[in-house]
């Protein structure tokens, strides 16, 4: 199944939206943490694992998902949240720790939840897999539609949870897809040094599930591969491991100088947003003017979102004590 023109333009819009959002976050992030760089300072405090470079992994997969499907995102969740359609304003506000954010400031960058989008996060790598598989199990038990997809990096496949959950996904034939965004680095450790096989998708055979590797960080190729996994999950064919070759343009986290990456590798990095735009224009799917219009519209949307975050109030200190327990019963 290949994407049609509308789907391709939609994917392009998604990756632009994620990129423009992250560009503004990056700009604001570094604006007020000097002269001595301090993670805890400024409008957007804490670690930020930006999605620069990872955008196609979300755009090419999420386009197949429906409202009743469930997503558990990773510690690098912006592109996953943006492509799922979360509101940029509430997202920006959460990153700033504002009361109007998705979690009223309790979650932050690595803990974004929107129940309306069936979207949650785990900042601990690979540990979003269990909850996603659990939702898939619940849907299967209740004979309800809806599949579940977890996102993580390639280094997360070396966590125990990966083995445990994939094995159970195989046993129970869950409508579940494990999307692995292979950026070749687990913080500073190269995939070759951390992983005994070249492709984590090859591990699928150990769990009796389907596995596929997608090269090129290209929305179209990801779209096609994800279509196969989704069809399998919706049709009762069980789980998949979809590993996608991607890359980090800004390192593990903002402020990472990437001294451990060779010059050659850094110079060879391409920009997936630039490339996809050129590809769609070259094959006549959209014109330069159309692409510019998409970017302009998204920029405006991001401006509004960022301003919303800036203008929003902080929570009261004592709000920290609210909501530890639901306190209700069936």
């Amino acid at each position: 199944m290949t994407p049609n023109a509308d789907q391709r333009k939609a994917m392009y819009t998604s990756i632009v939206r994620s990129r423009e959002f992250d560009d503004r976050i990056l700009e604001l992030y570094f604006a007020d943490k000097m002269p001595v760089f301090d993670l805890g300072k400024g409008l957007i405090p804490g670690e930020i694992h930006s999605s620069h470079g990872h955008e196609p992994c979300a755009a090419g997969t999420m386009i197949h998902l429906r409202p009743e499907d469930t997503i558990t995102a990773s510690h690098r969740p912006h592109h996953q949240a943006v492509c799922r359609g979360l509101d940029l304003s509430k997202l920006a506000a959460e990153l700033m720790g504002k009361k109007t954010g998705y979690c009223a400031g309790k979650g932050g960058h690595m803990h974004i939840y929107s129940q309306a989008h069936n979207f949650s996060c785990s900042g601990i790598i690979a540990e979003g897999m269990g909850p996603a598989a659990g939702v898939a199990l619940a849907n299967k038990m209740r004979k309800q539609p809806g599949i579940a997809v977890s996102y993580m990096g390639e280094a997360a496949a070396n966590q125990g949870a990966f083995h445990e959950v994939m094995n159970m996904a195989g046993i129970y034939k869950l409508p579940y897809i494990c999307v692995i965004e292979d950026n070749n680095w687990g913080v500073s450790v190269n995939k070759q040094a951390s992983t005994a096989v070249a492709r984590n998708s090859d591990r699928a055979s150990a769990y009796g599930v389907y596995g596929e590797y997608v090269e090129g960080n290209d929305c179209d190729a990801i779209f096609e591969a994800m279509a196969r996994c989704v069809e399998r999950a919706r049709g009762g064919g069980g789980s998949s491991i979809l590993e996608i070759q991607t890359y980090r343009l800004k390192g593990h986290m903002l402020g990472d100088t990437m001294d451990y990456v060779s010059k050659q590798e850094l110079q060879g990095l391409k920009d997936c947003v630039v490339d996809y735009r050129a590809k769609l224009i070259a094959d006549g799917t959209m014109t330069d003017t159309e692409a510019d219009a998409i970017v302009a519209e998204v920029k405006q949307e991001v401006d509004v979102a960022i301003q919303f975050g800036i203008d929003s109030p902080y929570p009261e200190p004592d709000d920290a004590f609210n909501g530890l327990f639901a306190g209700t019963s069936r």
């Binding site: 469930t70 558990t72 998705y102 979690c103 009223a104 309790k106 979650g107 803990h111 939840y113 929107s114 129940q115 949650s120 785990s122 601990i124 540990e127 897999m129 269990g130 909850p131 996603a132 598989a133 659990g134 939702v135 898939a136 199990l137 619940a138 849907n139 038990m141 209740r142 579940a148 125990g160 949870a161 083995h163 445990e164 959950v165 094995n167 159970m168 046993i171 909501g323 530890l324 327990f325 639901a326 306190g327 209700t328 019963s329 069936r330």
Partner: protein, 339 residues
């Protein structure tokens, strides 16, 4: 027509599980050895036959996996009951417990609920060695985001299980293995057996029970140590005419600090007995809760009877030495009061 039977803790808890499973299709059980084996400690005895493999789901030995999966099922509105045979195993799934199940409700600002019960078998005293005998209740209670219940008797076991399953929060249900009254571990402790109504009933979290009233000293125990307190109190009454009040908090989180304070206000003395490691644990927490509120109400120093912070040795004389037995409670009280 209502009738009451005398049940063991395990039977009473299982009765609540059965009722909830019959009446709510969203309740299901998953964990180790539940389907045919009925759980290592009998908590799921016969449920496999009754409800089938889809609702009594055997899992591989993959604790972080199946607790994560249960968390997801709960997020989707199911009410999973997870069987983790030994509390000692929390070491291999602490992330799923503490970073997933216990955090989603709070981090999501209440958008996500985790109506899940985690059943744990805990405690020693039957020569099972250091990795299958721990109580570890305070390790869990130290982390925010979990309700923790620890019934000492059959009546509470059933009521608290109903409350746990119906709760929209993550509840850890700690079953003390010797209190459970199951096969493999000898005769049930008499004071753990209780009259249990046929009908379902709930017990609110955070409400202690006064096991017996007294005027000279307050004993606070948890599950198995409640019975050690009862035995020690009997001997103290018989030999010295001492009047002991015994409080069973029943739920550790939330803790009924009010009931404990009220009792100590009356008796002026406090002994806390706990099977867990003493340092940084439940016993110190209970004492702090009293003296923080009013340091003047104690007529004598508070006493902690717990595991004296050593790993639990296998050999009988050594294990018995480190358990918070009725003998240790008795002796500590005698020494305190110069009886």
């Amino acid at each position: 027509m209502s009738s009451e039977r005398i049940l063991t803790v395990a039977r009473a808890g299982r009765e609540a599980v059965m009722w909830e499973m019959k009446n709510d299709p969203s309740v299901f059980m998953l964990g180790e050895d539940v389907f045919t084996f009925g759980g290592v400690f009998g908590t799921a005895d016969g449920l496999g036959e009754m409800f089938g493999a889809e609702r009594i789901l055997d899992t591989p030995i993959s604790e972080t996996g199946f607790i994560g999966i249960a968390t997801g099922a709960a997020m989707a509105g199911m009410r999973p009951i997870v069987e983790l045979a030994f509390i000692d195993f929390i070491g291999v799934c602490f992330n799923a417990i503490a970073n997933l199940a216990a955090k989603h409700q709070y981090l999501s600002n209440g958008q996500v609920k985790i109506p899940m019960v985690l059943m744990l078998g805990a405690g020693g005293g039957y020569n099972n060695g250091a990795q299958h005998s721990q109580y570890l209740l305070s390790t869990l209670a130290h982390m925010p985001g979990m309700v923790i219940v620890a019934p000492s008797n059959a009546y509470d076991a059933k009521g608290l299980m109903h409350s746990a399953i119906r709760s929209d929060d993550f509840v850890v249900y700690v079953g003390q293995k010797k209190v459970a009254g199951i096969g493999l571990l000898g005769s049930p402790i008499k004071t753990s057996m209780a009259a249990v109504p046929d009908e379902p009933y709930t017990i609110p979290f955070g409400e202690a029970r006064v096991v017996q009233e007294g005027t000279d000293i307050t004993f606070v125990g948890v599950s198995w140590t409640v019975h050690q307190c009862i035995q020690a109190a009997e001997r103290l009454q018989k030999q010295y005419g001492l009047s002991v009040e015994i409080i069973d908090p029943r739920t550790i989180v939330p803790l009924d600090r009010e009931a404990i304070f009220k009792s100590v206000s009356k008796t002026g003395r406090l002994l806390v007995a706990d099977e867990d490691y003493q340092d940084f644990g439940f016993t110190g927490e209970v004492i702090a809760g009293v003296v923080e509120r009013d340091p003047t109400i104690l007529k004598s120093p508070p006493i902690r009877v717990a595991n004296p912070n050593v790993n639990i040795p296998f050999s009988r004389p050594m294990e018995q030495r480190v358990l918070p037995t009725a003998d240790r409670i008795f002796e500590a009280t005698v020494a305190l009061l110069n009886l």
